[in-house]
Protein backbone atom coordinates (compact mmCIF):
# COMPACT_ATOMS: atom_id res chain seq x y z
CA UNK A 1 0.00 0.00 0.00
CA UNK A 2 1.26 3.46 -0.88
CA UNK A 3 1.97 5.56 2.22
CA UNK A 4 0.63 9.07 1.82
CA UNK A 5 2.97 11.41 3.63
CA UNK A 6 1.71 14.90 4.33
CA UNK A 7 4.30 17.68 4.32
CA UNK A 8 3.70 20.85 6.35
CA UNK A 9 5.94 23.87 6.70
CA UNK A 10 6.64 25.14 10.19
CA UNK A 11 7.81 28.73 9.70
CA UNK A 12 10.92 29.45 11.73
CA UNK A 13 11.41 25.79 12.60
CA UNK A 14 11.48 23.55 9.56
CA UNK A 15 9.25 20.87 8.10
CA UNK A 16 6.84 18.32 9.45
CA UNK A 17 6.04 15.06 7.68
CA UNK A 18 3.29 12.84 9.00
CA UNK A 19 1.05 10.00 7.93
CA UNK A 20 -1.55 7.61 9.30
CA UNK A 21 -0.39 4.02 9.65
CA UNK A 22 -2.40 1.01 8.52
CA UNK A 23 -3.30 0.51 12.19
CA UNK A 24 -4.85 3.97 12.30
CA UNK A 25 -2.18 5.79 14.30
CA UNK A 26 -0.68 9.05 13.13
CA UNK A 27 3.10 9.37 13.29
CA UNK A 28 5.36 12.16 12.10
CA UNK A 29 8.84 13.57 11.94
CA UNK A 30 9.77 17.22 12.44
CA UNK A 31 12.98 18.21 10.69
CA UNK A 32 14.56 21.33 12.13
CA UNK A 33 16.95 23.28 9.99
CA UNK A 34 19.82 22.65 12.41
CA UNK A 35 19.59 18.89 11.85
CA UNK A 36 17.62 18.11 15.00
CA UNK A 37 14.72 15.73 14.38
CA UNK A 38 11.64 15.09 16.49
CA UNK A 39 9.75 11.84 16.19
CA UNK A 40 6.12 12.63 16.96
CA UNK A 41 3.51 10.09 17.96
CA UNK A 42 -0.02 11.44 17.89
CA UNK A 43 -2.70 10.91 20.48
CA UNK A 44 -5.19 8.12 19.81
CA UNK A 45 -8.18 10.10 21.00
CA UNK A 46 -7.22 13.52 19.66
CA UNK A 47 -5.35 12.99 16.44
CA UNK A 48 -4.35 16.68 16.27
CA UNK A 49 -2.29 16.52 19.46
CA UNK A 50 0.93 14.67 19.96
CA UNK A 51 1.08 12.16 22.78
CA UNK A 52 4.86 11.92 22.72
CA UNK A 53 7.69 13.79 21.10
CA UNK A 54 11.20 12.44 21.08
CA UNK A 55 14.07 14.70 20.12
CA UNK A 56 16.92 13.13 18.19
CA UNK A 57 20.30 14.61 17.25
CA UNK A 58 21.34 14.12 13.63
CA UNK A 59 23.51 11.13 14.61
CA UNK A 60 20.66 9.54 16.57
CA UNK A 61 18.20 9.99 13.74
CA UNK A 62 20.65 8.30 11.38
CA UNK A 63 20.76 5.35 13.76
CA UNK A 64 16.97 5.15 13.82
CA UNK A 65 16.77 5.44 10.05
CA UNK A 66 19.31 2.67 9.71
CA UNK A 67 17.45 0.47 12.17
CA UNK A 68 14.18 0.97 10.35
CA UNK A 69 15.51 0.84 6.80
CA UNK A 70 18.51 -1.44 6.98
CA UNK A 71 17.01 -4.88 7.71
CA UNK A 72 15.80 -5.26 4.15
CA UNK A 73 19.31 -4.71 2.84
CA UNK A 74 20.95 -6.97 5.41
CA UNK A 75 18.38 -9.68 4.76
CA UNK A 76 19.15 -9.61 1.06
CA UNK A 77 22.80 -9.56 1.87
CA UNK A 78 22.51 -12.61 4.10
CA UNK A 79 20.73 -14.52 1.36
CA UNK A 80 23.40 -13.62 -1.14
CA UNK A 81 26.05 -14.91 1.25
CA UNK A 82 24.30 -18.27 1.59
CA UNK A 83 23.77 -18.82 -2.07
CA UNK A 84 27.32 -19.52 -3.19
CA UNK A 85 29.80 -21.32 -1.00
CA UNK A 86 33.35 -20.06 -1.15
CA UNK A 87 32.28 -16.63 -2.34
CA UNK A 88 33.02 -13.70 -0.05
CA UNK A 89 30.82 -10.61 0.10
CA UNK A 90 31.30 -7.47 2.11
CA UNK A 91 30.05 -3.90 2.37
CA UNK A 92 33.06 -1.60 2.05
CA UNK A 93 32.86 2.12 2.78
CA UNK A 94 34.28 4.96 0.71
CA UNK A 95 35.79 6.83 3.65
CA UNK A 96 35.92 10.64 3.40
CA UNK A 97 39.71 10.46 3.00
CA UNK A 98 39.66 7.77 0.32
CA UNK A 99 41.41 8.63 -2.96
CA UNK A 100 38.27 7.47 -4.79
CA UNK A 101 35.88 10.11 -3.45
CA UNK A 102 34.42 11.63 -6.64
CA UNK A 103 36.12 9.01 -8.81
CA UNK A 104 34.02 6.72 -11.02
CA UNK A 105 33.73 2.97 -10.68
CA UNK A 106 35.68 2.70 -13.96
CA UNK A 107 38.57 4.75 -12.50
CA UNK A 108 39.07 2.25 -9.71
CA UNK A 109 39.49 -0.68 -12.12
CA UNK A 110 38.48 -2.90 -9.21
CA UNK A 111 37.64 -5.96 -11.29
CA UNK A 112 40.89 -5.97 -13.29
CA UNK A 113 43.04 -5.26 -10.25
CA UNK A 114 41.43 -7.60 -7.70
CA UNK A 115 39.12 -9.99 -9.52
CA UNK A 116 36.21 -8.98 -7.26
CA UNK A 117 33.06 -7.21 -8.51
CA UNK A 118 31.03 -4.34 -7.18
CA UNK A 119 27.42 -5.53 -7.32
CA UNK A 120 25.76 -2.58 -5.61
CA UNK A 121 26.41 0.78 -4.00
CA UNK A 122 24.48 2.11 -1.00
CA UNK A 123 24.13 5.83 -0.50
CA UNK A 124 22.07 6.82 2.52
CA UNK A 125 18.94 4.78 1.97
CA UNK A 126 19.33 4.66 -1.81
CA UNK A 127 20.53 1.45 -3.43
CA UNK A 128 22.29 1.52 -6.80
CA UNK A 129 22.19 -2.07 -8.01
CA UNK A 130 24.83 -3.13 -10.58
CA UNK A 131 26.44 0.30 -10.92
CA UNK A 132 27.88 1.08 -14.38
CA UNK A 133 31.56 2.09 -14.87
CA UNK A 134 30.58 5.78 -14.95
CA UNK A 135 28.96 5.58 -11.48
CA UNK A 136 30.61 8.31 -9.41
CA UNK A 137 31.42 7.63 -5.74
CA UNK A 138 30.77 10.03 -2.91
CA UNK A 139 32.25 9.98 0.56
CA UNK A 140 30.09 7.77 2.77
CA UNK A 141 28.94 5.39 -0.01
CA UNK A 142 29.10 1.67 0.79
CA UNK A 143 30.05 -0.73 -1.95
CA UNK A 144 28.77 -4.29 -1.88
CA UNK A 145 31.67 -6.33 -3.21
CA UNK A 146 31.58 -10.00 -4.25
CA UNK A 147 34.66 -12.09 -4.95
CA UNK A 148 37.13 -14.50 -3.41
CA UNK A 149 38.17 -13.81 0.16
CA UNK A 150 41.52 -12.42 -1.03
CA UNK A 151 39.84 -10.40 -3.73
CA UNK A 152 37.53 -8.69 -1.26
CA UNK A 153 40.42 -7.86 1.09
CA UNK A 154 42.32 -6.43 -1.87
CA UNK A 155 39.36 -4.16 -2.65
CA UNK A 156 39.28 -3.04 0.96
CA UNK A 157 42.98 -2.07 0.78
CA UNK A 158 42.51 -0.42 -2.62
CA UNK A 159 39.60 1.76 -1.45
CA UNK A 160 41.51 2.89 1.61
CA UNK A 161 44.82 3.80 -0.01
CA UNK A 162 44.47 3.73 -3.82
Amino acid sequence: MEVEVEETRLPGIGLRHDFVTAQGRRIGVISQRNGVRHVVIYDEEDSDACAATIELTSEESEVVAELLGAPRITERFAKLREQVEGLATDGLPIAPGSPFVNATLGDTAIRTRTGASVVAALRGDEVFASPTPDFRFRAGDRLIVVGTKDGVSAVRALLASG
Binding site: L10, P11, G12, N34, H38, E45, D46, A49, E75
Partner: protein
Protein backbone atom coordinates in the same frame (compact mmCIF):
# COMPACT_ATOMS: atom_id res chain seq x y z
CA UNK B 1 33.92 53.15 46.73
CA UNK B 2 35.37 53.96 43.33
CA UNK B 3 32.87 54.13 40.47
CA UNK B 4 34.31 51.18 38.52
CA UNK B 5 34.13 48.92 41.53
CA UNK B 6 30.58 50.02 42.20
CA UNK B 7 29.49 49.52 38.57
CA UNK B 8 30.99 46.04 38.40
CA UNK B 9 29.55 44.99 41.74
CA UNK B 10 26.08 46.22 40.91
CA UNK B 11 26.09 44.85 37.39
CA UNK B 12 27.35 41.51 38.63
CA UNK B 13 24.73 41.38 41.34
CA UNK B 14 21.95 42.22 38.86
CA UNK B 15 23.04 39.58 36.33
CA UNK B 16 23.54 36.98 39.03
CA UNK B 17 20.12 37.78 40.45
CA UNK B 18 18.57 37.46 36.98
CA UNK B 19 20.23 34.07 36.62
CA UNK B 20 18.65 32.90 39.87
CA UNK B 21 15.29 34.31 38.85
CA UNK B 22 15.51 32.72 35.40
CA UNK B 23 16.26 29.34 36.92
CA UNK B 24 13.28 29.64 39.22
CA UNK B 25 11.05 30.60 36.29
CA UNK B 26 12.29 27.65 34.27
CA UNK B 27 11.56 25.25 37.12
CA UNK B 28 7.93 26.26 37.45
CA UNK B 29 7.48 26.48 33.68
CA UNK B 30 7.07 30.25 33.54
CA UNK B 31 8.64 32.74 31.18
CA UNK B 32 11.44 34.73 32.85
CA UNK B 33 10.19 37.95 31.22
CA UNK B 34 7.75 39.05 33.96
CA UNK B 35 10.38 38.30 36.58
CA UNK B 36 12.97 40.38 34.71
CA UNK B 37 10.47 43.24 34.64
CA UNK B 38 9.84 42.89 38.36
CA UNK B 39 13.60 42.86 38.99
CA UNK B 40 13.87 46.08 37.00
CA UNK B 41 11.08 47.66 39.00
CA UNK B 42 12.82 46.66 42.23
CA UNK B 43 16.15 48.16 41.19
CA UNK B 44 14.79 51.36 39.66
CA UNK B 45 14.21 54.74 41.18
CA UNK B 46 11.64 54.38 43.90
CA UNK B 47 12.16 50.62 43.97
CA UNK B 48 13.39 48.41 46.79
CA UNK B 49 17.12 48.63 46.05
CA UNK B 50 17.79 51.57 43.72
CA UNK B 51 20.97 51.09 41.68
CA UNK B 52 23.71 53.71 41.63
CA UNK B 53 25.23 52.50 38.35
CA UNK B 54 24.88 54.94 35.48
CA UNK B 55 21.56 54.43 33.73
CA UNK B 56 23.33 54.99 30.42
CA UNK B 57 24.85 51.52 30.65
CA UNK B 58 21.45 49.87 30.93
CA UNK B 59 20.00 52.18 28.29
CA UNK B 60 22.68 51.17 25.77
CA UNK B 61 22.40 47.53 26.74
CA UNK B 62 18.67 47.70 26.25
CA UNK B 63 19.02 49.12 22.72
CA UNK B 64 21.49 46.36 21.83
CA UNK B 65 18.99 43.91 23.33
CA UNK B 66 16.24 45.07 20.97
CA UNK B 67 18.57 44.79 17.98
CA UNK B 68 19.65 41.27 18.95
CA UNK B 69 16.10 40.09 19.73
CA UNK B 70 14.86 41.17 16.32
CA UNK B 71 17.98 40.08 14.43
CA UNK B 72 17.69 36.54 15.79
CA UNK B 73 13.94 36.54 15.10
CA UNK B 74 14.65 37.55 11.50
CA UNK B 75 17.26 34.79 11.21
CA UNK B 76 14.57 32.22 11.98
CA UNK B 77 12.67 33.10 8.83
CA UNK B 78 13.65 32.71 5.23
CA UNK B 79 12.41 35.22 2.70
CA UNK B 80 10.65 32.40 0.87
CA UNK B 81 8.71 31.37 3.99
CA UNK B 82 7.55 34.92 4.59
CA UNK B 83 6.23 35.39 1.08
CA UNK B 84 4.33 32.09 0.90
CA UNK B 85 2.90 32.72 4.34
CA UNK B 86 1.62 36.17 3.53
CA UNK B 87 0.05 34.91 0.31
CA UNK B 88 -1.77 32.08 2.04
CA UNK B 89 -2.57 33.53 5.43
CA UNK B 90 -3.08 37.24 4.81
CA UNK B 91 -6.82 37.20 5.72
CA UNK B 92 -6.11 35.35 8.95
CA UNK B 93 -3.33 37.77 9.83
CA UNK B 94 -5.56 40.75 9.20
CA UNK B 95 -8.31 39.25 11.33
CA UNK B 96 -5.82 38.54 14.13
CA UNK B 97 -4.46 42.09 14.10
CA UNK B 98 -7.88 43.76 14.04
CA UNK B 99 -9.48 41.48 16.60
CA UNK B 100 -6.63 41.92 19.07
CA UNK B 101 -5.50 45.43 18.25
CA UNK B 102 -8.84 47.22 18.28
CA UNK B 103 -9.55 46.58 21.98
CA UNK B 104 -6.26 48.28 22.80
CA UNK B 105 -7.06 51.24 20.58
CA UNK B 106 -10.57 51.52 22.05
CA UNK B 107 -9.11 51.34 25.55
CA UNK B 108 -6.82 54.29 24.76
CA UNK B 109 -9.67 56.21 23.20
CA UNK B 110 -11.92 55.65 26.23
CA UNK B 111 -9.19 56.98 28.51
CA UNK B 112 -8.85 60.00 26.19
CA UNK B 113 -5.22 59.36 25.34
CA UNK B 114 -5.40 60.69 21.80
CA UNK B 115 -4.87 59.05 18.40
CA UNK B 116 -1.11 58.42 18.69
CA UNK B 117 -1.44 56.52 21.96
CA UNK B 118 -4.41 54.65 20.49
CA UNK B 119 -2.26 53.52 17.56
CA UNK B 120 0.47 52.47 20.01
CA UNK B 121 -1.98 50.53 22.22
CA UNK B 122 -3.27 48.81 19.07
CA UNK B 123 0.21 47.35 18.61
CA UNK B 124 0.69 46.56 22.29
CA UNK B 125 -2.39 44.34 22.46
CA UNK B 126 -2.23 42.93 18.91
CA UNK B 127 1.22 41.39 18.75
CA UNK B 128 1.86 38.12 20.54
CA UNK B 129 5.28 37.31 21.90
CA UNK B 130 6.92 34.93 19.42
CA UNK B 131 9.72 34.40 21.94
CA UNK B 132 7.47 33.11 24.72
CA UNK B 133 5.22 31.16 22.38
CA UNK B 134 7.90 29.23 20.53
CA UNK B 135 9.55 28.41 23.87
CA UNK B 136 6.28 27.13 25.33
CA UNK B 137 5.43 25.08 22.24
CA UNK B 138 8.88 23.47 22.41
CA UNK B 139 8.77 22.89 26.17
CA UNK B 140 5.33 21.30 26.06
CA UNK B 141 6.31 19.14 23.07
CA UNK B 142 3.64 20.67 20.88
CA UNK B 143 5.73 21.41 17.81
CA UNK B 144 4.21 18.35 16.15
CA UNK B 145 0.61 19.25 16.94
CA UNK B 146 -1.55 19.80 13.92
CA UNK B 147 -2.64 23.26 15.05
CA UNK B 148 0.96 24.45 15.49
CA UNK B 149 1.53 25.48 11.83
CA UNK B 150 -1.50 27.77 12.15
CA UNK B 151 -0.12 29.32 15.34
CA UNK B 152 3.28 29.82 13.73
CA UNK B 153 1.87 31.42 10.62
CA UNK B 154 -0.07 33.91 12.74
CA UNK B 155 3.21 34.78 14.44
CA UNK B 156 4.97 35.22 11.10
CA UNK B 157 2.31 37.63 9.87
CA UNK B 158 2.39 39.56 13.14
CA UNK B 159 6.16 39.89 12.92
CA UNK B 160 5.96 41.12 9.35
CA UNK B 161 3.11 43.50 10.19
CA UNK B 162 5.36 44.78 12.93
CA UNK B 163 7.98 45.65 10.33
CA UNK B 164 5.50 47.99 8.67
CA UNK B 165 3.84 49.20 11.88
CA UNK B 166 6.94 50.26 13.84
CA UNK B 167 8.25 52.65 11.15
CA UNK B 168 4.85 54.33 10.93
CA UNK B 169 4.68 54.71 14.70
CA UNK B 170 8.29 55.94 14.94
CA UNK B 171 7.74 58.47 12.19
CA UNK B 172 4.50 59.73 13.73
CA UNK B 173 6.09 60.15 17.15
CA UNK B 174 8.98 62.10 15.65
CA UNK B 175 6.77 64.35 13.53
CA UNK B 176 5.64 67.73 14.80
CA UNK B 177 2.83 68.65 12.39
CA UNK B 178 0.40 66.78 10.14
CA UNK B 179 2.39 67.59 6.98
CA UNK B 180 5.68 66.49 8.46
CA UNK B 181 3.97 63.39 9.86
CA UNK B 182 2.74 62.35 6.42
CA UNK B 183 6.14 63.14 4.94
CA UNK B 184 8.10 61.13 7.49
CA UNK B 185 5.71 58.17 7.27
CA UNK B 186 6.23 58.13 3.49
CA UNK B 187 10.01 58.33 3.88
CA UNK B 188 9.94 55.56 6.48
CA UNK B 189 7.76 53.27 4.36
CA UNK B 190 9.86 54.01 1.26
CA UNK B 191 13.04 53.06 3.10
CA UNK B 192 11.31 49.96 4.43
CA UNK B 193 10.29 48.92 0.92
CA UNK B 194 13.85 49.35 -0.38
CA UNK B 195 15.43 47.44 2.50
CA UNK B 196 12.77 44.71 2.34
CA UNK B 197 13.39 44.27 -1.39
CA UNK B 198 17.13 43.96 -0.79
CA UNK B 199 16.47 41.46 1.99
CA UNK B 200 14.14 39.35 -0.13
CA UNK B 201 15.89 39.52 -3.50
CA UNK B 202 19.57 39.78 -2.60
CA UNK B 203 19.74 37.74 0.59
CA UNK B 204 22.54 35.61 -0.85
CA UNK B 205 24.70 38.65 -1.53
CA UNK B 206 24.22 39.95 2.00
CA UNK B 207 24.98 36.49 3.37
CA UNK B 208 28.18 36.26 1.32
CA UNK B 209 29.14 39.74 2.50
CA UNK B 210 29.20 38.75 6.18
CA UNK B 211 30.29 35.14 5.68
CA UNK B 212 33.58 34.30 7.36
CA UNK B 213 35.42 31.14 8.22
CA UNK B 214 36.16 31.79 11.85
CA UNK B 215 33.45 32.21 14.44
CA UNK B 216 34.86 35.29 16.14
CA UNK B 217 35.21 37.19 12.86
CA UNK B 218 31.68 36.18 11.82
CA UNK B 219 30.25 37.25 15.17
CA UNK B 220 31.92 40.67 15.02
CA UNK B 221 30.90 41.23 11.41
CA UNK B 222 27.27 40.31 11.95
CA UNK B 223 26.92 42.23 15.18
CA UNK B 224 28.65 45.27 13.68
CA UNK B 225 26.52 45.18 10.56
CA UNK B 226 23.35 44.72 12.62
CA UNK B 227 24.11 47.74 14.78
CA UNK B 228 24.93 49.86 11.72
CA UNK B 229 21.77 48.82 9.89
CA UNK B 230 19.75 49.42 13.06
CA UNK B 231 21.33 52.84 13.52
CA UNK B 232 20.70 53.82 9.90
CA UNK B 233 17.11 52.59 10.18
CA UNK B 234 16.62 54.61 13.35
CA UNK B 235 17.99 57.70 11.59
CA UNK B 236 15.46 57.20 8.77
CA UNK B 237 12.67 56.75 11.39
CA UNK B 238 12.25 53.13 10.33
CA UNK B 239 13.14 52.07 13.88
CA UNK B 240 16.25 50.14 14.87
CA UNK B 241 14.26 47.01 15.63
CA UNK B 242 12.90 46.78 12.10
CA UNK B 243 16.35 47.34 10.56
CA UNK B 244 17.76 44.44 12.57
CA UNK B 245 14.76 42.23 11.73
CA UNK B 246 15.17 42.84 8.00
CA UNK B 247 18.90 42.08 8.18
CA UNK B 248 18.02 38.82 9.90
CA UNK B 249 15.65 37.94 7.06
CA UNK B 250 18.27 38.79 4.44
CA UNK B 251 20.82 36.42 5.98
CA UNK B 252 19.97 32.93 4.86
CA UNK B 253 20.99 29.32 4.59
CA UNK B 254 23.57 27.55 6.69
CA UNK B 255 25.29 30.82 7.58
CA UNK B 256 22.07 32.11 9.16
CA UNK B 257 21.68 28.88 11.11
CA UNK B 258 25.26 29.15 12.31
CA UNK B 259 24.92 32.82 13.29
CA UNK B 260 21.77 31.99 15.24
CA UNK B 261 23.80 29.59 17.33
CA UNK B 262 26.55 32.15 17.86
CA UNK B 263 24.23 35.03 18.74
CA UNK B 264 21.92 33.01 20.98
CA UNK B 265 23.77 33.48 24.28
CA UNK B 266 24.52 37.14 23.53
CA UNK B 267 20.86 37.73 22.72
CA UNK B 268 19.79 36.13 26.00
CA UNK B 269 21.99 38.46 28.06
CA UNK B 270 21.02 41.65 26.29
CA UNK B 271 17.34 40.72 26.08
CA UNK B 272 17.40 40.34 29.87
CA UNK B 273 19.00 43.79 30.14
CA UNK B 274 16.27 45.12 27.85
CA UNK B 275 13.46 43.87 30.08
CA UNK B 276 15.24 45.00 33.24
CA UNK B 277 15.79 48.44 31.76
CA UNK B 278 12.11 48.84 30.98
CA UNK B 279 11.38 47.93 34.60
CA UNK B 280 14.12 50.32 35.78
CA UNK B 281 12.67 53.24 33.87
CA UNK B 282 9.16 52.62 35.19
CA UNK B 283 8.31 54.09 38.56
CA UNK B 284 6.87 51.32 40.74
CA UNK B 285 4.71 53.85 42.53
CA UNK B 286 2.79 54.50 39.30
CA UNK B 287 2.01 50.80 38.85
CA UNK B 288 -0.76 50.01 41.39
CA UNK B 289 -3.23 52.51 39.94
CA UNK B 290 -2.77 50.94 36.48
CA UNK B 291 -3.34 47.36 37.63
CA UNK B 292 -7.13 47.42 37.26
CA UNK B 293 -7.25 48.92 33.73
CA UNK B 294 -4.44 46.56 32.69
CA UNK B 295 -6.37 43.59 34.11
CA UNK B 296 -9.45 44.53 32.06
CA UNK B 297 -7.23 44.78 28.99
CA UNK B 298 -5.66 41.44 29.84
CA UNK B 299 -9.01 39.64 30.12
CA UNK B 300 -10.10 41.04 26.76
CA UNK B 301 -6.68 40.18 25.34
CA UNK B 302 -6.99 36.55 26.38
CA UNK B 303 -10.51 36.31 24.95
CA UNK B 304 -9.63 37.83 21.59
CA UNK B 305 -6.61 35.56 21.12
CA UNK B 306 -8.76 32.54 21.97
CA UNK B 307 -11.24 33.60 19.29
CA UNK B 308 -8.39 34.17 16.82
CA UNK B 309 -6.97 30.73 17.54
CA UNK B 310 -10.38 29.11 17.13
CA UNK B 311 -10.93 30.72 13.72
CA UNK B 312 -7.39 30.11 12.48
CA UNK B 313 -7.55 26.51 13.67
CA UNK B 314 -10.85 25.85 11.97
CA UNK B 315 -9.49 27.30 8.75
CA UNK B 316 -6.58 24.85 8.79
CA UNK B 317 -8.93 21.95 9.48
CA UNK B 318 -8.05 20.94 13.02
CA UNK B 319 -10.65 19.72 15.50
CA UNK B 320 -12.19 21.78 18.32
CA UNK B 321 -9.51 20.71 20.80
CA UNK B 322 -6.77 21.91 18.50
CA UNK B 323 -8.58 25.21 17.91
CA UNK B 324 -8.75 25.85 21.65
CA UNK B 325 -5.07 24.98 22.05
CA UNK B 326 -4.15 27.32 19.17
CA UNK B 327 -5.90 30.21 20.88
CA UNK B 328 -4.34 29.50 24.25
CA UNK B 329 -0.89 29.30 22.68
CA UNK B 330 -1.29 32.77 21.18
CA UNK B 331 -2.13 34.51 24.48
CA UNK B 332 1.39 35.60 25.48
CA UNK B 333 2.44 39.20 24.87
CA UNK B 334 5.93 40.37 25.66
CA UNK B 335 8.89 41.88 23.88
CA UNK B 336 6.95 43.70 21.14
CA UNK B 337 4.57 45.39 23.54
CA UNK B 338 7.56 46.65 25.48
CA UNK B 339 9.42 47.80 22.37
CA UNK B 340 6.35 49.87 21.48
CA UNK B 341 6.08 51.27 24.99
CA UNK B 342 9.79 52.12 24.83
CA UNK B 343 9.24 54.04 21.60
CA UNK B 344 6.31 55.98 22.98
CA UNK B 345 8.04 56.62 26.29
CA UNK B 346 6.63 59.28 28.49
CA UNK B 347 6.45 61.71 25.57
CA UNK B 348 2.78 61.08 24.81
CA UNK B 349 1.02 59.92 27.97
CA UNK B 350 2.79 59.54 31.33
CA UNK B 351 0.67 56.54 32.35
CA UNK B 352 1.31 54.71 29.08
CA UNK B 353 4.48 52.88 30.14
CA UNK B 354 3.19 51.76 33.57
CA UNK B 355 -0.01 50.45 31.96
CA UNK B 356 1.95 48.47 29.41
CA UNK B 357 4.29 47.23 32.15
CA UNK B 358 1.34 45.92 34.17
CA UNK B 359 -0.27 44.46 31.04
CA UNK B 360 2.89 42.65 29.92
CA UNK B 361 3.50 41.39 33.47
CA UNK B 362 0.11 39.72 33.37
CA UNK B 363 0.20 38.50 29.77
CA UNK B 364 3.75 37.18 29.92
CA UNK B 365 2.81 35.28 33.07
CA UNK B 366 -0.47 33.98 31.59
CA UNK B 367 1.16 33.11 28.25
CA UNK B 368 2.89 29.90 29.36
CA UNK B 369 0.05 29.04 31.76
CA UNK B 370 -2.85 29.33 29.32
CA UNK B 371 -1.88 26.30 27.16
CA UNK B 372 -1.62 24.18 30.31
CA UNK B 373 -4.86 25.52 31.77
CA UNK B 374 -6.97 24.82 28.69
CA UNK B 375 -5.60 21.31 28.31
CA UNK B 376 -8.33 19.56 30.35
CA UNK B 377 -11.00 21.41 28.36
CA UNK B 378 -9.26 20.52 25.10
CA UNK B 379 -9.26 16.86 26.13
CA UNK B 380 -12.96 16.95 26.86
CA UNK B 381 -13.64 18.56 23.47
CA UNK B 382 -11.52 15.91 21.78
CA UNK B 383 -13.44 13.12 23.52
CA UNK B 384 -16.77 14.62 22.50
CA UNK B 385 -15.58 15.03 18.94
CA UNK B 386 -14.36 11.44 18.90
CA UNK B 387 -17.75 10.17 20.07
CA UNK B 388 -19.58 12.20 17.48
CA UNK B 389 -17.40 10.88 14.70
CA UNK B 390 -19.04 8.17 12.56
CA UNK B 391 -17.71 4.65 12.91
CA UNK B 392 -16.21 3.05 15.97
CA UNK B 393 -14.35 5.54 18.16
CA UNK B 394 -10.61 5.05 18.19
CA UNK B 395 -10.54 4.07 21.85
CA UNK B 396 -13.05 1.21 21.65
CA UNK B 397 -11.58 -0.52 18.63
CA UNK B 398 -10.38 -4.00 19.60
CA UNK B 399 -6.63 -4.29 19.39
CA UNK B 400 -5.57 -5.59 16.02
CA UNK B 401 -4.34 -9.17 16.08
CA UNK B 402 -0.61 -9.41 16.13
CA UNK B 403 0.78 -10.32 12.75
CA UNK B 404 1.41 -14.06 12.46
CA UNK B 405 5.01 -14.94 13.08
CA UNK B 406 6.69 -15.58 9.78
CA UNK B 407 6.34 -19.16 8.60
CA UNK B 408 9.79 -19.13 7.09
CA UNK B 409 12.70 -19.85 9.40
CA UNK B 410 14.94 -16.84 9.83
CA UNK B 411 17.64 -16.71 7.20
CA UNK B 412 20.91 -17.88 8.64
Amino acid sequence: MNPTARLLLELGAVLFGLGAVGRFAGRIGLSPIPLYLLAGLAFGTGGLVPLQAPASFFATGSEVGVVLLLLVLGLEYTADELITNVRRQAPVGLLDLLLNGLPGAIFAAVLGWGPLAALAMFGVTAISSSGIISKVLTDLGRLGNRETPAVLSVLVIEDLAMAAYLPVLTALIAASSLVSAVYSVLVALGTLAVVLTIALRHGEGVTRFVGARSDDVLLLRVLGLALMVAGAAEAAHVSAAVGAFLLGIALSGDVAEHIRGLLGPLRDIFAAVFFVFFGLSTDPASLPSELLPAAVLAIVGVATKLVTGWIVGRRTGVGPAGRLRAGAALVARGEFSIIIAGLVGASVIPTFAPTVAAYVLMMAMLGPLAPRLVDPFARRLARQAAQRRPGPPAKKRPPDPRPEPSAEPPAR
